[in-house]
C-alpha cells in the first residue's frame, strides 16, 4: 500500500506556495452526508483541509445516546466515528484523500481513547485536542485522568507510523474557553500541549491560537507562540493554525464576514499556515455545507488580498512573549516530563484559566477587556506574573459587565455596516 502524503507536509507545501489553507468545522451523523460535505470542501475554490467533527455524545463516550439519536431523527451534531464501522469511514477517506486534500478529525474529548482507536482503524492521520484544553473547559473528568488518557492516545496514534503514516496532532490550547483568556496563557498552554505530544512520541504537530478581540495583540501573541515553539520544538514538523473568533459571534452577515476576513488577514500577517473558519450563521446554529463553503472561499479570498502567505510581519511588544515564556518555564521547572507535571502545575495555579468552572482549575484568575479589545489580567491568582496588568478593571464583574465583555467583538463587527475588507481594523493596526 502506498503511504499517503503526511498531513503536516501537505500544509507546509501549501504554505511554501504562499497559499493559506482554510478548513471548516463540519460533522454529520449520516456517512452519506459526511461524504458529501467533504466532497464539497474539496471542490471549494480555495486550498482546503477536510474536517470530520465528531458528535458530542461520542465525545462523552455516551454510546446509548448515539444509538438513540441514530435510531431516532438521526440529528447528531457531528459524525459518530466510534459507532460507524471503520470500513464506512475509511471508504470515505480513501475516496477523497490525495496529495492535495487531507482530512482532520476534530472532537473535544478528555477521554478520547476510542476515538483514537477509530481514527487509526480508518487510516485518519490528523486530529487535535490536548490534555488541558480538552479537559478543563469541556469535561468533568479529573485533569490527572485526562493527562493519562492523552499520553495513551499519543501512543495509540503513533501506531499509524507502522502503517506508513506520519500522524499529526494539533493543540487546542490556544483556545481556552474561546474568549476572555489573556493571550500569554493561550500561548503557554498551546506550546506546553505541543511539547507534551512530542514527548509522547509525535513528530508532526500544529499549535493553535484563537483570534481574540484586538488584532495588534493577536499578532504579538502569535509571534510569541512561534518564537517559543521554535525554541522548544527543534527537529519537529510544526505549523501555526489560527481559529477564527471562538466567542460570541456577530449576528449580521456583514459582521460575521468582517470578523472572518479579519481572521484570515491575521493568519496571513502572523505567518500561520492554516485557518479554521466560522460562518455567517455561527451565532444561530450549526452551518450547512453551503454556508461552510461560502466561508471557506470568503476567507481564502480575504487572505489573498493581503499578500502571499509567508514570513510573519514584525509585531509590537507589550510583554506577551515574556509572560508566556515565564508561564512555560514555571511549568517546566516542576520537571522535564509534562505527563508528570501538568496536573501539579494546574493544581498550584501556575496555569489558571479565568472563569473556568472545572474543579481542578484554581479559578482565582480574572481577565479584563479594555475599550480597544485588548485582554489584560485583572487578577493573576497564583500565576507567576505581576498581580494585575489591567489598569481600570473592576474587582468583581456583574452579569452586565460580563455580557458586555462577551459581546464586545460581536457588537463591534455588527456595528460596522458594509465595511470593505481591510477597513475594519485600521485603527488597531496603527496602535
Amino acid at each position: 500500500m502506498t503511504s499517503p502524503v503526511p498531513f503536516g507536509e501537505v500544509i507546509t507545501r501549501a504554505a511554501a506556495r504562499g497559499r493559506l489553507i482554510v478548513q471548516p468545522r463540519m460533522g454529520m451523523g449520516d456517512p452519506v452526508d459526511m461524504r458529501a460535505g467533504l466532497l464539497a470542501v474539496k471542490a471549494a475554490k480555495a486550498s482546503t483541509v477536510g474536517t470530520i467533527t465528531v458528535d458530542s455524545y461520542t465525545r462523552c463516550n455516551d454510546d446509548e445516546a448515539v444509538r438513540r439519536a441514530i435510531a431516532g431523527d438521526g440529528q447528531l451534531n457531528g459524525y459518530p466515528i466510534v459507532a460507524r464501522t471503520s470500513d464506512v469511514t475509511s471508504a470515505i477517506v480513501k475516496e477523497l484523500r490525495d496529495a492535495s486534500f487531507v482530512i482532520q478529525v476534530r472532537h473535544g474529548s478528555a477521554d478520547p481513547q476510542r476515538i483514537f482507536e477509530a481514527l487509526v482503524a480508518a487510516g485518519l492521520d490528523a486530529t487535535e485536542g490536548g490534555p488541558i484544553s480538552y479537559c478543563l473547559p469541556y469535561s468533568q473528568l479529573p485533569l490527572a485522568d485526562s493527562v493519562k488518557n492523552w499520553a495513551v492516545c499519543c501512543k495509540t496514534f503513533g501506531r499509524l507510523r507502522d502503517k506508513g503514516y506520519e500522524p499529526h496532532l494539533e493543540t487546542f490550547g490556544g483556545c481556552m474557553l474561546g474568549q476572555l483568556c489573556p493571550p500569554s496563557l493561550l500561548v503557554a498552554i498551546s506550546v506546553l500541549e505541543a511539547l507534551f505530544f512530542c514527548q509522547q512520541g509525535l513528530r508532526s504537530v500544529s499549535l493553535s491560537y484563537a483570534q481574540q478581540a484586538n488584532t495588534a495583540q493577536d499578532l504579538e501573541a502569535i509571534a510569541a507562540l512561534r518564537a517559543i515553539a521554535a525554541e522548544l520544538l527543534p527537529n519537529v514538523d510544526w505549523h501555526v493554525v489560527v481559529y477564527a473568533y471562538m466567542g460570541v459571534y456577530p449576528r449580521t452577515v456583514s459582521g460575521a464576514m468582517g470578523l472572518l476576513g479579519e481572521a484570515a488577514r491575521l493568519a496571513v500577517r502572523s505567518g500561520a499556515a492554516r485557518l479554521i473558519v466560522k460562518t455567517a450563521v455561527e451565532a444561530y446554529r450549526i452551518p450547512t455545507v453551503a454556508e461552510n463553503i461560502t466561508a471557506l472561499e470568503y476567507a481564502s479570498a480575504a487572505a489573498g488580498q493581503v499578500r502571499r502567505a509567508g514570513p510573519a510581519e514584525p509585531a509590537s511588544d507589550t510583554g506577551i512573549l515574556t509572560e508566556a515564556r515565564t508561564l512555560v518555564d514555571a511549568v517546566l521547572e516542576l520537571g522535564p516530563q509534562l505527563d508528570r507535571t501538568l496536573t501539579a502545575a494546574v493544581g498550584r495555579g501556575l496555569l489558571d484559566i479565568p472563569y473556568c468552572l472545572h474543579p481542578d482549575n484554581r479559578g482565582r484568575t480574572r481577565s479584563y477587556l479594555d475599550r480597544d479589545g485588548r485582554l489584560y489580567w485583572s487578577d493573576t491568582g497564583a500565576l507567576p506574573l505581576a498581580r494585575r496588568t489591567a489598569v481600570a478593571a473592576p474587582d468583581r464583574n456583574s452579569s452586565a459587565d460580563l455580557q458586555r465583555m462577551l459581546n464586545y467583538v460581536a457588537r463591534k463587527y455588527d456595528s460596522i455596516q458594509n465595511a470593505a475588507p481591510g477597513q475594519i481594523n485600521d485603527h488597531e493596526r496603527n496602535q
Partner: protein, 179 residues
C-alpha cells in the same frame, strides 16, 4: 464540580439554585453568565459546570434540595438531554414540585415549538430560548419563584403562567441573550 458563590443578600441562604449544563454540552460561558444573573436575583448558586452526567445532577439536587433548578444548554442536544434529565429529576419525591427550567439553544436548528412542547411535557416548568426577551422572562420567573418562596406558596405554581405558545414565540425570536 461546583463553584460556591457568596449570596449578596446577607447570610440567609433561603434561595438555593442549582445550575447545570446538560450531559453532552461542554459550553461554559452561558453557565458563568447565568450564575451571575441568579446571584443578582438573590440566589445562592451551586454551579455544576459543563457536561454534567444526569446521575450527578440528580444526586446534587436530591441532597440540597434547591429552590430552583436551572439547566442551560447551547449545543443543540438540549431537547433530548434536557428531557432525559428532568424525567429523572421528577422521579425524586423531594423534587416533584421544585421549579425546574431549561434555556438556551435547544436544537441544532433554530428553536421550534416541538422542542418546547416536548420539554414541557417531559417535566420542565418553563422553557426559554436564547434571546434578550427570553432573558427578561427568565428574570421575571426568578422574581416570582423568590416571592413565592418567601410567601411559602407551593413552588410549582409559579411557573405555569406562560402557555407553550408564548414560550415558543419567545424562543423563536432571535437576539442577544441567554446563551
Amino acid at each position: 464540580m461546583q463553584v460556591e458563590s457568596r449570596t449578596p443578600y446577607g447570610a440567609d441562604r433561603t434561595l438555593e439554585a442549582i445550575l447545570s449544563s446538560t450531559s453532552s454540552d461542554s459550553h461554559m460561558w452561558n453557565l458563568i453568565f447565568i450564575q451571575l444573573v441568579l446571584e443578582e436575583h438573590g440566589y445562592h448558586v451551586t454551579n455544576l459546570g459543563a457536561c454534567v452526567p444526569v446521575e450527578a445532577l440528580v444526586d446534587r439536587c436530591a441532597a440540597l434540595p434547591p429552590t430552583v433548578v436551572v439547566l442551560s444548554t447551547v449545543n443543540g442536544h438540549g431537547h433530548l438531554d434536557g428531557a432525559l434529565a428532568v424525567n429523572r429529576l421528577r422521579q425524586i419525591p423531594s423534587l416533584a414540585t421544585t421549579p425546574i427550567v431549561i434555556g438556551g439553544k435547544l436544537g441544532i436548528q433554530a428553536s421550534s415549538l416541538d422542542h418546547v412542547q416536548h420539554l414541557r411535557a417531559a417535566g420542565f416548568d418553563a422553557v426559554f430560548g436564547d434571546t434578550a426577551s427570553d432573558l427578561s422572562e427568565f428574570s421575571a420567573f426568578l422574581r416570582r419563584v423568590a416571592a413565592d418562596s418567601f410567601a411559602g406558596a407551593p413552588s410549582c405554581d409559579v411557573a405555569v403562567a406562560r402557555t407553550p405558545l408564548e414560550i415558543a414565540r419567545a424562543a423563536a425570536a432571535r437576539g442577544a441573550g441567554l446563551a
